[in-house]
Subunit: 161 residues, 2 copies
């Protein structure tokens, strides 16, 4: 029942039908480390993704922000409204394209990022130490390949259809 030598035949039996759930379980295993820490600092996982994205890319519009934080537009709209209300984020409308709004961290938002980021780094370091750097790197590479492979096929289907 434990993970020392997982029964490979059972693993293969479930293989074809549970990859998304295995991705979910792996992600939850990681996030259960981060969520309590973020909560202690008053952030949800998604709010933190937005703040982190704005820390890397200041002054980007909502479409780019959605891409970097991997959030759907309606979720991002709500999160930005909340973060603006907390004075963590500011919105300016783009003079060249009135449809667009561009966002940045406020001083308070940047301070929040600087305060929380070290805890985040530390938790990642723990995970790396537990799972092993090489295996983690292999996993990361495979995930990236998986995403790009399936996303590319999606695009082909879209342009062909």
């Amino acid at each position: 029942m434990d993970a020392a030598d997982p029964c490979k035949s059972e693993l293969l039996r479930d293989f074809r039908r549970s990859l998304p759930m295995e991705l979910l379980k792996a992600r939850e295993a990681a996030m259960s480390r981060f969520r309590p820490m973020l909560r202690d600092h008053g952030f949800t996982e998604q709010q933190w993704r937005v703040i982190r994205a704005l820390s890397d890319y200041a002054g980007i519009d909502a479409t780019e922000l959605a891409r970097h934080s991997f959030l759907l537009a309606p979720s991002l709209t709500r999160i930005l409204q909340y973060l603006e209300g907390e004075n963590l984020v500011t919105r300016r409308s783009d003079a060249r394209d009135q449809r667009r709004a561009v966002f940045s961290l406020t001083r308070k938002g940047r301070a929040a990022f600087d305060r929380v980021a070290p805890y985040s780094e530390s938790l990642y370091a723990n995970i790396e130490a537990e799972f092993g750097r090489d295996r983690l790197e292999t996993l990361y590479t495979l995930l990236s390949q998986f995403y790009h492979t399936l996303a590319a096929a999606e695009e082909d289907a879209g342009s062909a259809g």
Copy 2:
């Protein structure tokens, strides 16, 4: 910019801070194949997980069902209430333990499973064909190891604290 030979230094730069998001992106790449199909059949992803679990393990209680479908108790409660309302699932209380309720698929629920499962299998087969069986197997194994490694450490921390 494409995935043929991803810039490894950039990959490593983001490595420490974005594993959960890479897991999320990979999962979304897979689920974006399944969600429209499930929707056409009137199910959400989570409702389908419950039906699939009950197809494998008939007559289990909510705790086991939560474990097999990887849902939190409050979500499962709501989903089971909905599925009961649709006459897809039945609930019986356990005579030996009145706290427990055990669940099974109705005839209609089983029919729904039999109707949808082939589409699901077919989409998995596509993914396997696109990404490659060996790589998919490696990915699956790494994900399982990752989950068990982090979950085990969690338990240790829990029993130690």
